[in-house]
C-alpha cells in the first residue's frame, strides 16, 4: 500500500481546527496558550457559532489571540475585557461572547471588572489562564504567584508578609450569585485537555442559554517565566500550583 492510499478523508483521525489559521504563533515552546486556543477554535466550530462569535483579547501574552483564531475579536485595554464583553453581549444577546485573560489582566488590574461582570451575571464566558506570573513583560510577580516563588520582581521569592497572598479569584467569583459555572482545569496531559475542552464547551453553552457568568480557570505553565524546561514545568505545576489551585468544579448550577 502506498502512503497516498492512506491519506484519505475517511482515514483522518486528527486535524488542525478549521478556525485556526496558519499564522506562526508567538508563544514559547511548551506554553499552554496554544492548546487552549486550539480548544476554543474547535468548540466554536463544533457549536456552529463561527458567524456569531466575538472574542475579547487581553493585554498579556494572549494579546495576539486574534491573530490565530479566525473569528471577530476586540482587543481590550489591560484588565477591561469583562467590561467590553458586557456591552458586546448586552447589545448582541444572541452572540457567543467570551474573554480570554491571564492572571495579571484578570486578577490584578482587572479585578473590579471581573468581579462586577460576574456579580451582574453577564451571559459571557471567561477563559482564565493562570500561570502565576506575568509572561509578556518578562516574568514579574502576579497576584497568583505562589508563596516563595521567584519572579523578576520578587527575586528572593514571594514574601506574603510584604506582597500578600496568592489570590484565588475563582473561589471568590464562585461565591457570587451571578456566576453559574466556575471550574479549574489544566492542559498538561491528554486527559486534562479533554476535560478542559468539556469545561469550555459548557461555559460557551451557558453563555448562549443565558444562565449567567461562567469562568474556566486553566492552571498553566509559563516555562520561560519559570525558567524551566516544558516537561519540568509540568511536574512543578502538578506539585506546587495544584496544591494551591486544586483541579475541579468550584460551582456548577
Amino acid at each position: 500500500m502506498d502512503i497516498q492510499d492512506i491519506i484519505k478523508p475517511e482515514n483522518l483521525v486528527y486535524d488542525k481546527p478549521r478556525l485556526m489559521n496558519d499564522n506562526p504563533m508567538h508563544y514559547c515552546p511548551g506554553c499552554s496558550h496554544g492548546v487552549v486556543h486550539k480548544l476554543i477554535a474547535e468548540i466554536i466550530d463544533e457549536m456552529g457559532m463561527e458567524e456569531s462569535s466575538v472574542g475579547i483579547a487581553p493585554v498579556g501574552c494572549a494579546v495576539f489571540a486574534y491573530n490565530y483564531i479566525d473569528i471577530d475579536w476586540q482587543e481590550a485595554a489591560h484588565g477591561r475585557a469583562p467590561a467590553i464583553a458586557t456591552a458586546v453581549k448586552r447589545l448582541n444577546p444572541d452572540k457567543l461572547v467570551f474573554t480570554y485573560q491571564g492572571d495579571g489582566d484578570l486578577a490584578a488590574i482587572g479585578t473590579a471588572e471581573t468581579i462586577h461582570a460576574c456579580n451582574r451575571g453577564e451571559n459571557i464566558a471567561i477563559i482564565f489562564i493562570n500561570n502565576g506570573i506575568y509572561g509578556m513583560t518578562g516574568g514579574q510577580m502576579a497576584p497568583t504567584t505562589l508563596e516563595g516563588m521567584v519572579t523578576a520582581t520578587c527575586p528572593y521569592g514571594r514574601n506574603v508578609e510584604l506582597y500578600g497572598y496568592p489570590l484565588k479569584i475563582s473561589d471568590l467569583v464562585a461565591k457570587l450569585d451571578g456566576t453559574c459555572y466556575v471550574t479549574r482545569q489544566s492542559v498538561h496531559t491528554a486527559a486534562a485537555i479533554k476535560k478542559t475542552k468539556k469545561a469550555i464547551r459548557q461555559a460557551f453553552e451557558n453563555s448562549m442559554a443565558k444562565k449567567g457568568t461562567s469562568l474556566v480557570e486553566v492552571v498553566s505553565t509559563c516555562n520561560s517565566g519559570w525558567k524551566m524546561s516544558p516537561e519540568k514545568a509540568n511536574t512543578w505545576m502538578e506539585e506546587n500550583m495544584f496544591a494551591k489551585y486544586p483541579m475541579g468544579d468550584l460551582k456548577n448550577e
Binding site: I56, A76, A83, A112
Partner: protein, 359 residues
C-alpha cells in the same frame, strides 16, 4: 404638526435626545452635576420601547470600556460623566481614538483639580482639546450653550463620530446641565438593525461571515513602521475634520471695537455683558466657538485686524485663551478673564473686567 416645546434640564435633554436618536446603549456611573442623564434614561426605560440598553457600571473605567465594546460592534453608544470621572475615562478615550471607534462622551464639567467642587467650571478645556489620554489623537469637541444645543449635539456628536470613526465629546458645564430651558427634541428615529450596521459599518465585530475576513478592533501595532502609518492616517483624518467641521456663532462682531471669545454657559453671560456695554455705547462683539476642536482659528484671525483688543472669558484660569492667542498671533492685545473653582461671574463683573483689561 407644530413642534412640541418642552421645559427641561440640559441633562434631561441629553437623555431624551439619545433615545430619540436611536442610540443602542448608554453606560455610566453617577457623579454630580450630571446624574440626571442616567436617572432620566432609567426612568424612561427605553429598553422596552426602542431597545436601547442602559447600564449603570461599577466605575467610569468600566463604563468607558463598555462604550468601547459597544462601539466596536458598530453600535451607537455613549457615556456621560463630570470632570473627575472623565479623568478616569481618558484611558478608554485614547484606546477608542487608536482603534478608530465612534462614540459619544458627555462631560458636564465641575470645578477641579482633584475632587474639587460640584459647581460649574470650564477647566477641562485643556484635557479635552489638547489630549487628556496618551498619544497623538484628537477628540471632536462640541460646546453647547443652551438646553436646545444639549439635545441637538447628541445627534451632531453621534453623526460626526460615525462620519469620521472617532469619539466625540459634548463639553458642557454644570450650568448647562442643571438649568431648565425650552427645548424642541429631535424626532424619533429607529435604531439600525444588525444587517444595516453590517452594511454601513463593515468594520464592526458582529460575527465573521464567510464573505469577509475577521474584523479586529485594536489599537495595538508592534511594528513601528505600520504604527507610524496608522498615525499618519489619523492625522489625515484630523486634518479633514479641521477643514470641514469648524462651527462657531458670531454675535455683533462685524462693527465691534472689542471682541469677546467665550464658549458654553460663559458665552450666555457674555451676551448679557454685551447688552450692558451697548447701553453705554461700547461695541462688543462675541465670537462663540461651538466646536472647541476643531477650533475656529480663522474666524478669530479675521477680526484680529479689525478690533482694538480681544478677550477670552472662561470659567478657568486661562485655557482657551492660548488658542485665541494662536489665532491672533500677536496682531492685537489678547487678554483673559475668568473665575475659578466653581464661581460664575456676573455680566457686570465681565464688563468691568473688559474695561479694565482692554480699554
Amino acid at each position: 404638526m407644530a413642534e412640541e416645546v418642552k421645559l427641561m434640564k440640559g441633562n434631561e435633554a441629553i437623555a431624551h435626545a439619545a433615545i430619540r436618536y436611536g442610540a443602542d446603549g448608554y453606560f455610566g456611573y453617577p457623579i454630580t452635576p450630571q446624574s440626571e442623564i442616567m436617572e432620566t434614561l432609567m426612568e424612561e426605560k427605553p429598553w422596552e420601547t426602542t431597545g436601547m440598553v442602559v447600564l449603570q457600571a461599577e466605575s467610569e473605567l468600566a463604563a468607558i470600556n463598555m462604550v468601547y465594546g459597544g462601539a466596536g460592534c458598530g453600535k451607537a453608544v455613549m457615556t456621560s460623566s463630570s470632570s473627575p470621572g472623565v479623568s478616569l475615562k481618558q484611558e478608554g478615550i485614547s484606546y477608542m481614538a487608536g482603534a478608530e471607534l465612534p462614540a459619544l462622551i458627555v462631560n458636564v464639567m465641575r470645578g477641579g483639580p482633584g475632587l474639587g467642587t460640584i459647581q460649574p467650571s470650564q477647566a477641562d478645556y485643556f484635557q479635552t482639546v489638547k489630549g487628556g489620554g496618551h498619544g497623538d489623537y484628537r477628540l471632536i469637541t462640541l460646546a453647547p450653550a443652551s438646553v436646545q444645543e444639549m439635545a441637538d449635539f447628541v445627534t451632531l456628536g453621534f453623526d460626526l463620530a460615525f462620519k469620521y470613526r472617532n469619539p466625540s465629546m459634548i463639553l458642557a458645564d454644570g450650568i448647562i446641565g442643571q438649568m431648565m430651558e425650552k427645548v424642541v427634541l429631535p424626532p424619533f428615529r429607529p435604531r439600525l438593525t444588525e444587517e444595516e450596521i453590517r452594511a454601513a459599518r463593515p468594520w464592526a465585530t458582529l460575527g465573521k461571515r464567510a464573505d469577509r475576513k475577521p474584523n479586529i478592533i485594536t489599537s495595538l501595532e508592534l511594528d513601528p513602521a505600520r504604527m507610524e502609518e496608522n498615525n499618519i492616517r489619523f492625522q489625515a483624518k484630523y486634518a479633514e475634520i479641521e477643514k470641514h467641521e469648524v462651527r462657531y456663532e458670531e454675535i455683533d462682531c462685524e462693527d465691534a471695537d472689542y471682541l469677546i471669545v467665550a464658549f458654553g454657559s460663559m458665552a450666555r453671560i457674555c451676551q448679557k455683558a454685551q447688552e450692558l456695554a451697548a447701553a453705554e455705547g461700547i461695541k462688543l462683539g462675541l465670537l462663540r466657538p461651538i466646536t472647541l476642536w476643531p477650533f475656529p482659528y480663522e474666524a478669530i484671525s479675521h477680526y484680529a485686524d479689525k478690533v482694538k483688543g480681544v478677550i477670552s472669558i472662561e470659567l478657568n484660569a486661562g485655557q482657551m485663551v492660548e488658542d485665541v492667542r494662536l489665532a491672533v498671533n500677536g496682531r492685537v492685545k489678547v487678554e483673559h478673564f475668568g473665575r475659578l473653582g466653581g464661581i460664575v461671574p456676573t455680566p457686570d463683573e465681565v464688563l468691568c473686567a473688559i474695561k479694565e483689561k482692554l480699554m
